[in-house]
């Protein structure tokens, strides 16, 4: 499948908001989970070292 152009790819055949809204929120959720957990781990280790 070739999209022809980057803008065609981004437009997703008119469903851009739905497709990128799905993928974007999924990426945000996963990034948030990883960052929150890393912060929790850092906090814990700092508290243990003190």
């Amino acid at each position: 499948m070739s999209w022809g152009s980057v803008s065609a790819f981004l437009a997703m055949g008119g469903y851009a908001g739905f497709v990128w809204g799905s993928y974007g929120v999924t990426v945000l959720c996963i990034a948030a989970e990883v960052m929150l957990l890393m912060a929790r781990e850092r906090r814990l280790k700092r508290a243990l070292r003190a």
């Binding site: 739905f18 497709v19 809204g21 799905s22 959720c29 957990l37 929790r40 814990l44």
Partner: protein, 246 residues
């Protein structure tokens, strides 16, 4: 070949093992995600009926599968913890819940964004959607209940009851499209319509499911390490490790 599996059922020995395994599962998740997304966006053709909107399927189905699977695994570990009073199994159950809730949210969110262009509604109260929403509430209920009880052992027991009772909901979600007349049809993207198209879509979906699976294992291992440290911070082995680290 005599591996003592019970050795790994103690938090003390599982802690370093989980730390060693997690990066490999993250790497596997990234690999499957790149591969799956390549197939999903570049190899898989446009759907005849749904146009490009169907590409939501690659995360929607993967997240929905994981939301149900994680719940079953969580209930399993919670049940083992309740029956045998094993600390690590209960910690595993607690570590799985937030990721399970996240997967459920992703399944509902992407489903909503898929439902709007295809059905004309963000949300309908049909069996599949409602039972998946109940799953989200079960995860949240499990976490809220555990957070509200100070004694971790009692929190484990109370959580296990909610997890085990709630497990009835999983087959209801799974079979809801068969048992009731729902708007959520499995036929919108038919895997039998055209063999070449079907197999490429299916492989993209399976790869994304694998990616989510690997990610869930990795993040749960990291979270269970945090829970182990939180609960065992006054034990000798944590104090010993602390001395070694400083």
């Amino acid at each position: 070949m005599n591996i003592n599996w019970f050795k790994y059922s103690s938090p003390q020995t599982f802690y370093p093992l989980a730390g060693k395994l997690a990066p490999w599962f993250f790497a596997a998740a990234a690999l499957f995600a790149v591969w799956g997304l390549y197939i999903g966006f570049f190899a898989a053709p446009t759907d005849a009926q749904q146009g490009e909107a169907y590409r939501i399927i690659f995360i929607h189905v993967a997240a929905a599968w994981m939301s149900m699977f994680i719940y079953v695994v969580m209930a399993f570990w919670a049940g083992i913890g309740l029956a045998f009073n094993t600390r690590l199994s209960s910690m595993m159950a607690s570590a799985l819940a937030p990721t399970g809730a996240l997967m459920t949210f992703i399944a509902l969110w992407t489903g909503s964004l898929w439902g709007k262009p295809m059905w004309g509604a963000w949300w309908v109260w049909d069996a599949r959607l409602t039972s998946e929403l109940i799953l989200l509430f079960l995860y949240i209920g499990f976490m809220a209940l555990q957070a509200s009880i100070d004694d971790p052992r009692r929190a484990d027991k109370a959580g296990a009851v909610i997890a085990l009772v709630g497990v009835v909901n999983v087959p209801i979600i799974y079979f809801s499209v068969k048992w009731w007349n729902t708007l959520h049809q499995g036929a919108s993207v038919s895997l039998t319509r055209s063999p070449s198209m079907a197999s490429i879509m299916l492989s993209g979906m399976l790869l994304m499911a694998l990616a989510f699976w690997m990610y869930s294992i990795a993040i749960t291992l990291i979270r269970v390490r945090c829970i182990i440290l939180e609960r065992e911070r006054n034990s000798d082995w944590v104090k010993h490790m602390r001395r070694l680290a400083s």
